[in-house]
Amino acid sequence: MPRIVEAQGLYKIFHLGKTQVEALVDITFHVEKGEFLALVGPSGSGKSTLLNLIGCIEPPTRGTIHLDGIDITNLDDNSLSTIRAERIGFVFQNFNLLPVLTAYENIEYPLHIRGMPKREREERVKALLDAVGLARFANHRPAELSGGQRQRVAIARALAGSPSIVLADEPTANLDHATGREVLKLMKGLNRTYGTTFIFSTHDPQIMSFADRVVELRDGRIAS
């Protein structure tokens, strides 16, 4: 299978005053296209940091990282923004929907950034609202939706631009167990339907069972 993520000897070191914190130490791993991969580990193990590095949100201190065949290690801010807009979808623990936009408009936002024409945007957003079962809530603002509904809008938004990969940082952490499982099922279904690669971080053992593969991080290192 072709690889969508290829990381070699990744380090991420944070400087907190005079103290150095090694968030990631010598990470070498890869993700294949279409995989549904779980990053697991306790809080502070480096899951979010690794997702940030893959997601072009911050650069590694050392090492190289390729995404969809592109070396993203040393790209400038504009190029990284373009890659995020065109190839990556994000799902956040707190949903991170824009409160002033409706569910429809939140899903539409990434398509605006990509400069998609209005008619195509409309078709795409309606299809996604149907796919996540929220067609009735298109004109609702995030404040008018439940946690599960919000996360489903966030998933639809992540998939709007037909990304190569979706990165989900603790997507079920703020949901009750049943809703969390539903959201995971939805993600898994979309993974199968569209063949989109998913990497999600979690420390919930039950949710790990959905993953094709589990990568465990401990103290910034790959444990298994």
Binding site: N52, G55, I57, E58, D77, N78, S81, T82, I83, R84, A85, E86, I88, F90, F92, N94, F95, N96, L97, L98, P99, V100, L101, E105, Y109, P110, H112, I113, R114, R157, G161
Partner: protein, 408 residues
């Protein structure tokens, strides 16, 4: 861009209380500029029209060199055939009236006191139109057919201790330098907005003045137009005409003769500039504060849209759009409120004391000047934009990973 405008507009609406306070600052700034600017414009207008209608007229025509050397040798620069010239000037568009003047200095005596004066020989009929700010306080004005009659400024009449009906003796030099005297009768006492003018001026029919000075010429032709704004147009026509026919005449507009007015305009404009600067700073600080708060409150959202692929310039545009929309709304609201305030204040009027050197109290209004409104509108927009620049820049430079840690 449309999506940024949509988000910006909704963000303004989202925090109504704070947006309202910021808009109030813009509207307050707008009203201040419109009221202060409209008041100053009214002062300029009333002062200008007072000067023009009291004695200057809109344009004065005289022999070349009169304005430079006429003070020391007034009779060397006289206009020949003044009647013929007046008829031709009257045919020009926008000219309402032309009246001749002959100025001279002399001594005035009532047998007990003798005092120096500035005399003006005028055409009583023509001068009515160019001296509308000259008010008769006692007696009557000069009338066509009056001979050997004078009207005196309030200060001069008081100094001489005379009233209408009293006789006076005038002593002066003729145009040839001989001494000539004349008995005249006081017909009236006048006052204008200029105390200095009232303290030393007397007027007499131009025929009487010509007889006293033994000449048929005049020094100046005072032209009154239908509107002060046409001054330059008529001035240009006159100058072209004099040049084409090689006439030894020159035309001067009122603004080249109203030295006190020009100085007042400069002084007021400087003061107004400082006022505008202070208002601009207040508006800038107010919007700056709002935008800074908006950035702080929306760190999580900024992180989100950056993670979704929005470039830094997109974030800048989002916050600048917010500032500009705020400036636009404030500008429109300010224009309406400014217009309302101007009309309301003008309805009641502002009682003003006499200006320096003048004697008459007057009522100021707030003039609705399109240029002032346009300036205030531009100021609202530009200050809103300027004060959004730094917060917008700051928002665009946030570290995405840190911004995302803030709750949305």
């Amino acid at each position: 861009m449309a999506i940024y405008l949509k988000i910006a507009l909704r963000n303004i609406w989202r925090n109504k209380g704070r947006s309202l306070i910021t808009l109030s600052a813009i509207v307050f700034g707008y009203i201040s500029i419109v009221v202060a600017g409209g008041f100053i414009e009214d002062v300029f207008y009333q002062m200008r029209e007072s000067y023009i209608h009291s004695f200057l007229g809109h344009i004065q025509v005289s022999k070349k060199g009169f304005y430079e050397k006429g003070a020391s040798r007034p009779f060397e620069f006289m206009i020949d055939h003044p009647r013929r010239m007046m008829e031709r000037i009257l045919n020009l568009p926008h000219v309402r009236s032309v009246t001749p003047r002959l100025e001279f200095a002399g001594l005035l005596s009532n047998g007990e006191n003798t005092i120096s004066f500035m005399g003006q020989g005028v055409d009583p009929e023509g001068e009515k139109r160019v001296s509308s700010f000259l008010t008769i306080e006692d007696g009557r004005s000069l009338e066509p057919g009056d001979r050997y009659a004078v009207i005196l400024g309030r200060g001069l009449a008081k100094a001489m201790g005379v009233r209408p009906g009293d006789p006076l003796i005038i002593l002066t030099n003729t145009v040839d330098g001989a001494i000539n005297g004349m008995d005249v009768e006081v017909k009236g006492v006048f006052y204008t907005s200029s105390k200095a003018f009232d303290d030393r001026t007397l007027r007499m029919p131009i025929e009487t003045a010509q007889k006293l000075l033994q000449t048929e010429k005049v020094q100046t032709l005072v032209i009154l137009l239908d509107d002060t704004r046409n001054t330059d147009l008529v001035l240009h026509q006159l100058r072209s005409w004099f040049r084409q026919e090689d006439l030894p005449l020159e035309a001067r507009p009122w603004y080249n003769m109203a030295d006190f007015y020009n100085k007042t305009v400069t002084l007021f404009n400087r003061q107004f500039f400082v006022l505008k600067l202070i208002i601009a700073i207040i508006v800038v600080l107010s919007i700056f504060n709002t935008m800074n708060m908006a950035v702080l409150e929306r760190i999580g959202e900024i992180g989100t849209i950056r993670a979704l692929g929005t470039k830094r310039r997109g974030v800048v545009m989002l916050f600048l759009a917010e500032g500009v929309i705020m400036g636009l709304i404030g500008g429109v609201a300010g224009a309406i409120a400014g217009y309302g305030s101007a009309r309301l204040i003008s309805y009641f009027g502002i009682p003003m004391p006499p200006p320096p050197g003048a004697t008459i109290e007057w009522v100021a209004t707030i003039r609705v000047v399109p240029e002032v409104f346009l300036f205030a509108f531009s100021l609202s927009l530009i200050t809103a934009l300027i004060s959004s620049v730094y917060p917008a820049y700051k928002a665009s430079r946030l570290k995405i990973s840190e911004a995302l840690r803030h709750n949305v």
